[in-house]
């Protein structure tokens, strides 16, 4: 296990190292600078020079980069230029909201996929299949900004039963019932595409399983289709589904940018937009690096979990 992880680690680290410098340099090549957005249109040249020196932006690029790496090594993410406050706190606040939303969506997507695919395979009815397939294609084809708008229009405007956006006023813990209602629309909107993709995958994996010889044997012994699906086929199909789930998590985090914008959910998406438009270098570079790190880690974890669930890979991995 550890061996397998260690084998995969170096290339991941190389990507992160290259990314850190790439991001650092790119962020500073973007036209427009934090000083002008901070100082505003009426600042004197002296005021702007003072702000520039204050932020350390008068130093050479490499010096700034080394300084940043030093900070990172001490887990100090720096101070935001524009929003003010510690980058660490800002990112943590945004990340909580984004992760809660993404995990809820992931949960909804997995549940929907589990129910739909098992239903499709167990029933194995032409009409059910057609209906599921149609709904599925539609769910993938409908862009998030379309479903989001329709959901808001239906459930917050026409039938005002759910909030149109925003986060629960008392947080997620204190009033879980209220929090669930705030979460529902954005999570459904975010989960739709991922759920459809997952359903497709799982249905297909289950069908492949159902064609295996052991199923024919079991059927011949009089075991019901439902029982075979639930006890055997599902278990064998799950490992590869977990891999897809991992990829979906990354996709969902990316998709959250738009969903957060539609439902005014104050997560990382809005933060990164604000940081980029304000040229808030410390915040932008941490957020972009975080985005790369999350992707790399998810890839790594997915492979590891896949290996864990499927002993063939693990054995192959440690054996070679």
């Amino acid at each position: 296990m550890t061996h397998y992880l260690l084998r995969r680690l170096p290339s991941a680290l190389v990507v992160l190292a290259v990314a850190s410098f790439g991001i650092f340099a790119m962020v500073r090549m973007v036209p427009g600078d934090p000083v002008s957005t901070l100082a505003g249109p009426d600042a004197t040249p002296e005021a702007r020079a003072a702000i520039r020196a204050d932020l350390g932006l008068d130093q050479p690029l490499l010096t700034q980069y080394v300084h940043w790496l030093g900070q990172l090594a001490h887990l100090d993410l720096g101070t935001s230029y524009r929003i003010g406050g510690q980058v660490k706190d800002l990112v943590a606040d945004g990340a909580v909201n984004t992760i809660v939303l993404t995990l809820t969506a992931l949960l909804l997507a997995s549940l929907a996929a589990l129910v739909c695919s098992v239903l499709a395979v167990v029933l194995d009815n032409r009409w059910v299949n057609a209906a599921l397939s149609f709904g599925n294609t539609l769910a993938i084809a409908l862009p998030t900004f379309v479903t989001g708008l329709v959901l808001i229009l239906l459930f917050a405007v026409v039938l005002p039963v759910l909030p149109a956006g925003g986060t629960p006023p008392d947080g997620f813990i204190a009033r879980p019932d209220i929090a669930a209602q705030y979460l529902l629309l954005p999570a459904v909107c975010l989960a739709l595409g991922a759920g459809a993709a997952l359903t497709r995958f799982l249905t297909e994996a289950l069908r492949t399983e159902m064609r295996q010889p052991y199923v024919t044997t079991a059927r011949a012994l009089g075991i019901s289709r439902r029982r075979i699906v639930l006890t055997q086929a599902l278990r064998n199909a799950l490992p590869s589904a977990v891999t897809v789930l991992g990829i979906q998590f990354g996709t969902l985090l990316g998709g959250a940018v738009l969903v957060e914008a539609i439902f005014t959910w104050p997560g990382l998406g809005g933060l990164i937009e604000e940081a980029i438009s304000g040229r808030d270098y410390p915040l932008v570079q941490v957020l972009l690096l975080l985005s790369v790190t999350v992707f790399v880690v998810i890839q790594l974890l997915t492979d590891v979990v896949h290996a864990w669930l499927d002993p063939r890979i693990r054995i192959g991995g440690t054996g070679s």
Binding site: V15, T137, A141, A196, Q248, T251, V257, L288, F295
Partner: protein, 294 residues
């Protein structure tokens, strides 16, 4: 954004009715003549025809500001009504299709072509292969919309930016796919044999790699085209898309959102067209993917 989502889903799709038919393997083109493929082609065809015929069908110029016609509801004179600056929404919608067609049929193929080229060339040597793979990893590590926001900071909003983003997103996707194909084909016994008898790299490429990679690339092309419509829409939704007064389906939806309460009809046409275009492309990609595995 939805790249890996569709990437995973599409090749796995299959029609349950054909599960016993494993011997017959017709050319994947025939898949477009029936069922899903045909439905998809018809949807795409209708949208494309509406876009191409815009000058004939549209009652007004897409940028003409009609005196006195401020936010008029749907009527005989203006089927979809008029917008905030007195333009005919039907005309803007028809012309807006053209912007999306440009994105779908120009930006995606450009990105694909560059990606395939990079994939082919880099995968021939292990050194370049490693570099290319890492670069692809890096680009794919950014969610599409974050990439879009960052790129817009460089070049400002506009159709050009949408193009850049689509090319940047598609390049690694096609690069990777080509690489996988090249590696698979190269490990096939007959290609190894050809190599042993001294056949050149170019010959191998032309004779074996390209023909065998064509089908997965085609499937991916259809998927990528549908994603391109998403990207244009999402970028326009965030205000990073085409510059006014040029219309696009995404920008029309954004304008419609602003008038959601009093003019819900505003966005209906563009929304329907976006869904039709994405759905059509998706169906085609599914049909092609299913045909491949038969």
């Amino acid at each position: 954004m939805s790249e890996s989502l569709l990437d995973v889903a599409a090749p796995e799709a299959s029609d349950p009715d054909d599960q016993f038919d494993t011997r017959r393997r017709p050319g994947i083109w025939t898949a477009l003549g029936r069922g899903k493929g045909l439905a998809g082609l018809i949807l795409i065809g209708v949208v494309v025809a509406l876009g191409l015929l815009a000058p004939l069908l549209a009652p007004h110029s897409p940028t003409e500001q009609i005196p006195g016609a401020n936010l008029v509801g749907p009527s005989g004179a203006h089927w979809f009504g008029t917008d905030e600056v007195n333009r005919d929404i039907l005309s803007r919608t028809l012309y807006g299709i053209r912007t999306d067609l440009l994105v779908v049929f120009l930006a995606v193929p450009i990105g694909a072509a560059i990606g395939i080229l990079v994939g082919l060339v880099s995968s021939w040597w292990s050194f370049t292969d490693v570099i290319a793979q890492r670069v692809f990893d890096l680009v794919l590590a950014f969610p599409t919309l974050i990439l879009a926001i960052a790129l817009t900071a460089f070049v400002g909003p506009g159709l050009r930016t949408v193009f850049f983003v689509i090319v940047a997103v598609e390049l690694p996707v096609f690069g990777r796919l080509t690489r996988t194909s090249v590696r698979t084909v190269r490990e096939m016994p007959y290609v190894e044999a050809a190599h042993v008898i001294g056949a050149g790299s170019l010959w191998q490429l032309r004779r074996h790699v390209l023909p065998n990679s064509l089908e997965p690339l085609l499937v991916q092309l259809a998927v990528s085209m549908s994603v391109a419509v998403f990207i244009e829409g999402a970028m326009s939704f965030l205000g990073l898309g085409v510059r006014p007064p040029q219309p696009s389906l995404g920008s029309l939806i954004r304008d419609g959102v602003r008038n959601m309460y009093d003019a819900p009809y505003f966005a209906v046409g563009p929304l329907a067209l976006v869904v039709a275009l994405v759905l059509g492309l998706l169906l085609v990609s599914q049909a092609l993917a299913e045909a491949r595995r038969r």
